[in-house]
């Protein structure tokens, strides 16, 4: 058993990160996906996670969204533990009720959009604010319409997802996540399922978010050019660990580790 007394009940001090992974381990049986991961993301920072498939990069986001359980370590969000809760002065695994409250500051967009097919674009955006936050319908509608305008989808607000292209669905999905006013946004390969010609409309929305909002963002992507343009920091994952991280100019322009160099040249050759 892990000694839980090494983990503080909450983070305090002047430089509390928005997200902190502390010794986080995730494994499926014998397969270790994340190996003792330590990662801080500051408020308003845009961190991009790159790496070969199977390197654990998507798992990082899924654990933060509480879609996966944790096998070791603790994740903190905004100073408070996310995966654990305090009980008698030590951290114990969070129960369902605690998890629901703790994850309310996190929003996520998925590779396959996962819009609700039986609801229109507007209804998709209003669902969370009305059903979870308890907002009056009129207010939720205003908020949703504003966000749909922001992602350029206001004209299609009454369409069901089946009538929208992949790029349009993903933009609605971004609006839907933002309607919950998260502090941290997670983008999990949001352009990977899109046709090349519509990738730009989704990356454009994310660029706009970075430029105009002080959201903390974690993004997993295969779009290296995009990652280089908008990230504050890039983390290269290899076999469940951060092999190398740093500002995009450095990591892309002058990678230090051999694995990083290999990966980047392989990606370049594929382009």
């Amino acid at each position: 058993m892990e000694d839980m007394s090494q983990y503080p009940l909450e983070l305090s001090g002047p430089d509390v990160p928005m997200v902190r992974f502390m010794n986080v381990t995730k494994s499926y049986g014998a397969l270790t996906v994340l190996d003792n991961l330590n990662l801080d993301v500051s408020e308003g920072e845009m961190v991009t996670v790159i790496g070969p498939s199977g390197s654990g990069k998507t798992t990082v986001l899924r654990m933060l969204m509480t879609l996966e359980t944790i096998n070791g370590g603790v994740i903190y969000v905004d100073g408070q533990p996310l995966t654990h809760m305090a009980k008698n002065g030590v951290l114990v695994p969070a129960d369902a009720k605690y998890l629901r409250r703790a994850r309310s500051s996190i929003g996520m967009c998925f590779q396959h959009f996962n819009l609700f097919p039986h609801m229109t674009a507007l209804q998709n955006c209003m669902e969370g604010p009305v059903q979870v936050l308890g907002l009056p319908k009129a207010e939720a509608r205003d908020r949703s319409e504003e966000l749909l305008s922001m992602v350029g989808m206001i004209d299609k607000k009454d369409q069901h997802p089946s009538r929208l292209s992949g790029g349009q669905q993903q933009r609605v999905a971004i609006a839907r996540a933002l309607a919950m006013r998260p502090k941290v946004m997670l983008f999990d390969e949001v352009t990977s399922a899109l046709d090349p010609e519509v990738i730009g409309e989704v990356t454009g929305v994310i660029r706009k978010l970075v430029a105009e909002h002080n959201l903390t963002m974690l993004m997993v992507t295969h779009q290296m050019g995009f990652a280089r343009d908008i990230s504050d920091r890039v983390c290269f994952f290899y076999q469940g660990k951060i092999e190398e991280q740093g500002p995009p100019e450095g990591l892309f322009g002058n990678p230090q580790r051999e694995r990083t160099q290999q990966f980047l040249s392989a990606v370049k050759a594929a382009d």
């Binding site: 879609l67 996520m108 998925f110 097919p117 039986h118 229109t120 669902e127």
Partner: protein, 222 residues
């Protein structure tokens, strides 16, 4: 050759049609019970508790593996030995509703399993409660693929209502038996029963298909 008597047919027709209303009521009430209870059974098999899942699973298997007529007898005749005295109608509705809820729970189970995992993850990301996840997102999507099976069992429960005559529920079959017994003529009453069942079952199957298409359209899922 047939000795069909039209005057007798028309004489008994009002009584048979009256009983048809009872048959429809029995099928409707039984089906209503089955629709709700089936959902309870289906959802109970998805709880995190292994014990609940197993017990419900076994109950569903038990109900599906024993004859309906036995279950009807059991509720009606064995119940009183334990102090549960039920009228034929109540006992019949419980038995047939329970029987079909086991079948419907399997239909729902298939429908629920057909909803992609990503929908659950989106609900988690939006922080919907489990109840709201089910009732606002998962069940509406599980419905269209379940409708064909649900329609089959609606026709099925309707055709099984004659079994309720064994405990004296005054439905169509029981009325036909009574008429036959008192007039010593069975050809006309039984033939009419067959025709009435056919006249309801056939259009019902078509209507169910229309309804299915309508629901899909309504949910924007075509």
């Amino acid at each position: 050759m047939f000795d069909w008597r039209w005057d007798f047919t028309f004489e008994i027709l009002p009584r048979l049609l009256q009983a048809t209303l009872n048959t429809l009521a029995a099928a409707g009430i039984g089906y209503g019970i089955a629709v709700v209870l089936g959902l309870v059974f289906a959802l109970a098999q998805r709880t995190p508790s292994r014990i609940v899942t197993m017990v419900v699973r076994e109950c569903v298997e038990f109900i599906r593996s024993t004859p309906l007529v036995l279950q009807i007898f059991f509720v009606f005749f064995v119940g009183p030995q334990f102090g549960i005295r039920l009228s034929p109608w109540v006992a019949g509705m419980i038995a047939i509703g329970l029987h079909y809820s086991a079948y419907l729970s399997e239909v729902y189970r298939g429908g629920l399993e057909s909803v992609p995992k990503g929908q659950w993850e989106a609900c988690t990301a939006l922080n919907l409660s489990t109840t709201k996840t089910y009732f606002r997102v998962i069940i509406p999507q599980a419905l269209p693929p379940s409708l064909a099976g649900m329609g089959n069992y609606l026709v099925g429960i309707f055709k099984d209502t004659p079994m309720l005559s064994v405990i004296g529920v005054a439905e169509l079959m029981q009325a036909a038996n009574a008429i036959g017994g008192s007039h010593y003529r069975y050809l006309e009453p039984y033939t009419m029963v067959g025709i009435i069942f056919l006249a309801i079952s056939l259009p019902a199957a078509g209507l169910i298909r229309v309804f299915e298409a309508w629901v899909r359209k309504k949910l924007g899922m075509n």
